[in-house]
Symmetry: C3
Subunit: 262 residues, 3 copies
C-alpha cells in the first residue's frame, strides 16, 4: 500500500497511467535496487542507454537485467548499440548476446547511422521472431539531420514500424531534450509538429521527455496516460507525482477520464 494512500484513490481508479521508460546510464546494483524499491511499479521499460552495456562486465549486466526483469520491468539495450552491430554486419550476434544477457526488449533505430526502410522492416521482424519486445525509434541524433525529417515522414515511419510489428514507436529527444524532434532550442514543444505526429493517437507512441517542463506539458495536454521515455532514473518518482497531480505543476490540473474522452 502507498503512503498517504487516501490521496491517490480517485485518480488511480479512473485514469490508467502511461508507460514510463527510464534511462539507465550505468547504474550499479545498489542503485538498481533503490530504483526498483522506490519507483519500480511506476516504470515499464529500462533502457541501458546507447552503448553503455558494452563497456560493463557481462556478469554485471546479467545481474542488472535479472533484477529488473524479476521486478516486472523490461530492460533493453540502446539503439546505438544495435546500429554499431549493424555497421559490422553483426545483427544476429547482437540479438543472441542480448538474449544471453537477459534483455527482454530491443530498440531498433537509425539515430546515428543510415538504415534503409526495407532493412529496418526486417530488423523489427527478426527481433520479434527472436522473442523480444520491440520499440523502434524515429529521429536523428544530429540536429541538422533530424530537422530534415518532416512530420509527414515521421508519421510514415511510425506507421511502417507498427505495421512491421513494433510494439511501440519512440520519438527521439536524446538525454538533453533540446533542438531535436518535437522540441525547440529551449526544449519547448513545437505543438504543430506534435499534433501532426499524434494524429493517429498516442497509444503506441512514447515521447522522449527528459526535461520536467516537457513531462508537465505532455501530461497537461494528454493526461497521465501519455507514454514518456528517457526519464532520468532520479526523476522517476517525480514523474509519478506529476502524473498523479501530486506536484505543484500539475496539482489540480489533471484531466479526468471524462475530459479525456471528449
Amino acid at each position: 500500500m502507498k503512503a498517504f494512500d487516501f490521496l491517490n484513490q480517485t485518480s488511480e481508479i479512473t485514469i490508467p497511467m502511461g508507460k514510463t521508460m527510464v534511462l539507465d546510464k550505468g547504474l550499479g546494483l545498489n542503485a538498481v535496487d533503490d530504483l526498483i524499491a522506490t519507483a519500480g511499479d511506476a516504470i515499464t521499460f529500462v533502457k541501458f542507454g546507447w552503448g553503455t552495456s558494452a563497456v560493463m562486465d557481462r556478469n554485471l549486466v546479467m545481474a542488472k537485467t535479472a533484477r529488473y526483469a524479476a521486478a516486472g520491468l523490461i530492460p533493453y539495450p540502446g539503439g546505438t548499440l544495435l546500429e554499431a552491430a549493424l555497421a559490422n554486419d553483426q545483427y544476429d550476434a547482437f540479438l543472441d548476446e542480448a538474449k544471453a544477457l537477459g534483455f527482454k526488449g530491443i530498440e531498433v533505430s537509425d539515430g546515428s547511422t543510415t538504415v534503409a526502410a526495407d532493412i529496418r522492416h526486417d530488423l523489427i521482424i527478426k527481433a520479434r521472431e527472436a522473442g523480444f519486445f520491440v520499440i523502434s525509434e524515429v529521429g536523428k541524433k544530429n540536429p541538422d539531420l533530424d530537422h530534415e525529417l518532416t512530420p509527414a515522414e515521421r508519421v510514415a515511419i511510425i506507421n511502417a514500424d507498427l505495421a512491421a510489428g513494433s510494439h511501440y514507436v519512440i520519438l527521439e529527444a536524446r538525454e538533453a531534450g533540446k533542438n531535436i524532434g518535437i522540441y525547440d532550442n529551449n526544449g519547448n514543444i513545437k505543438v504543430d509538429e506534435l499534433d501532426l505526429l499524434a494524429e493517429n493517437g498516442i497509444d503506441k507512441l512514447i515521447f522522449e521527455a527528459p526535461l520536467k517542463a516537457q513531462q508537465v506539458a505532455l501530461i497537461l495536454k494528454y493526461g497521465p496516460q501519455v507514454n514518456m521515455g528517457n526519464i532520468a532514473t532520479e526523476d522517476a518518482i517525480s514523474l509519478a507525482t506529476l502524473r498523479r497531480g501530486l506536484r505543484g505543476d500539475t496539482l489540480g490540473k489533471i484531466k479526468s477520464a471524462a475530459d479525456l474522452a471528449h
Copy 2:
C-alpha cells in the same frame, strides 16, 4: 573525528553552522544510508519533496523516516502534499498518516493553492498540537503569482507564521531556484528584496537555495550560520565545505564571529 581535522578547528569553534534542509526526491535505502554516513551531521531537515512520499510504498517511507530520525534528522513531507490533502478536506487524516509514517515535521504552505490567513494560522497551531516540528513556507510555485507578493506582504506572513508557532519560515525557490522569491531569472539574488525580508533577522528564516551560486552568495553575506534549504542531496557535502571555507568560492572569505557581530 573528521579527516584533516586540524583544518576545521578554528571555524568550527567560533561560528555555529546554520541549519540545512536537503530535498529528498525519492532516495532508496542504499542512498539514504550513504547520505547519513557522509553528511548526516551537516543536515538538520530532510524534506520528502512535494508528493513523492505518496507514490512510494508505506513500508519504504517508514523505513526511510526511521533511519533519518535515528540519525537525529527531522524528516517531513512536502507542503504540496498537505495542500492536496487540504483540498480534499483531509488535514486530520494527513497529520495522522504523517505521524504513523514516522515524519517528525510538517511543512505548511500555499505554494500551489490558496489558503486563507486564518486557516493557515489554524494549520500551524494544529500541527504544533499534534507534536510536529513546524516549518511554514512563503511563496508561490507559479512565478506570475509569486511576483504579485510584495516584500511587505511576505514579511507580514513571516511574522504571522512565527506568531502562530512556526519554528522556521522557509522562503520558496522550488527545485530550480530561478525567477521566484528572492531570485531573478538567472537565479541571482535580488538584494533589495532580500534585505527587506531579513530586516528582523535571519535566525528563523530558511532560504531555499538550490544553486551553488546562491549558497555562496548567502554565506558570503550572512556567514555560515545562514539557514538554507532545497539543497540537492548530492550537494550536501559541498554545502558543508562552502560553510567552512573549504571550497574555492569561500576559501579565505568566511566572516568571523567578530565581523558578524557588527
Copy 3:
C-alpha cells in the same frame, strides 16, 4: 569479459584509452561500490573534490580510499584542501594526514590562493619524496584571475611542474566547465588556446572536461587516448562509451591509431 564484447575488439586492441579522473563530491560506500563495479576499469584517478574529505568522518574517508585503491584506482584530495593547509603553514601535517587516510596521490594547485613558483616547486618535490603520485593543476578558480594567465604562462608552468616531478599536469575547468581555462562562456573549447597548450604533446596533460560536449570535442580532436578529468561519477560510463565510439556523438568518428600517428 565485457558484454557485447565482439563490438569492442577492434578499437580496444588498436588504441589505448586515455586516463580518466572522476570527481567524487562526497559519495557514500554504496555509491563507491557501484562506481567501482560499473566503471572501475575505465577510471585511473578519483579526486575527492576540493575540501570534501575534511567534512567527512576519518573512518569513512579511510574506507573509501581503501576501496578505490584495492580496485587499482588512485584516490587523492582536492588541491583546495592543500591550499587551505598551506595558508596555515601545515603542509607537512597535510601530507602526513593524507598518507594516514590512504590517499595515493596529491594535487598541487594555486587555484584559490597565490603560491610562489619556488614554493610550488618545493611542494611537488616534497609530495614526490613522501611517495605520492603527483598531479599539479594550472588555472585559477576565479574567472577574472584565470583570464589574466596567458597561454604562454600556462605552458611555462606546465613545463616547470613536469621538470619538478609532476606525473601529470591538469588544466583547471572546475565542476561547471564554463568561462575558465580553455573553455568560453558556453563551455566551448577555445581552439587556439588549446593548440598552444598542447604544442608539446598531450601525453602528460589532463583536461578537466566536465561537460559531454567537451569530452566529445577532445576525443574527436585527439582520439580516445586524451586524458580527461572532473568527470562526474555518474558520467564515467558515458565517457567510456564516447572513447570507444559507442555513443551517437562519436560512433564511426573515432580516429584510428594510424590516423593519429600522422
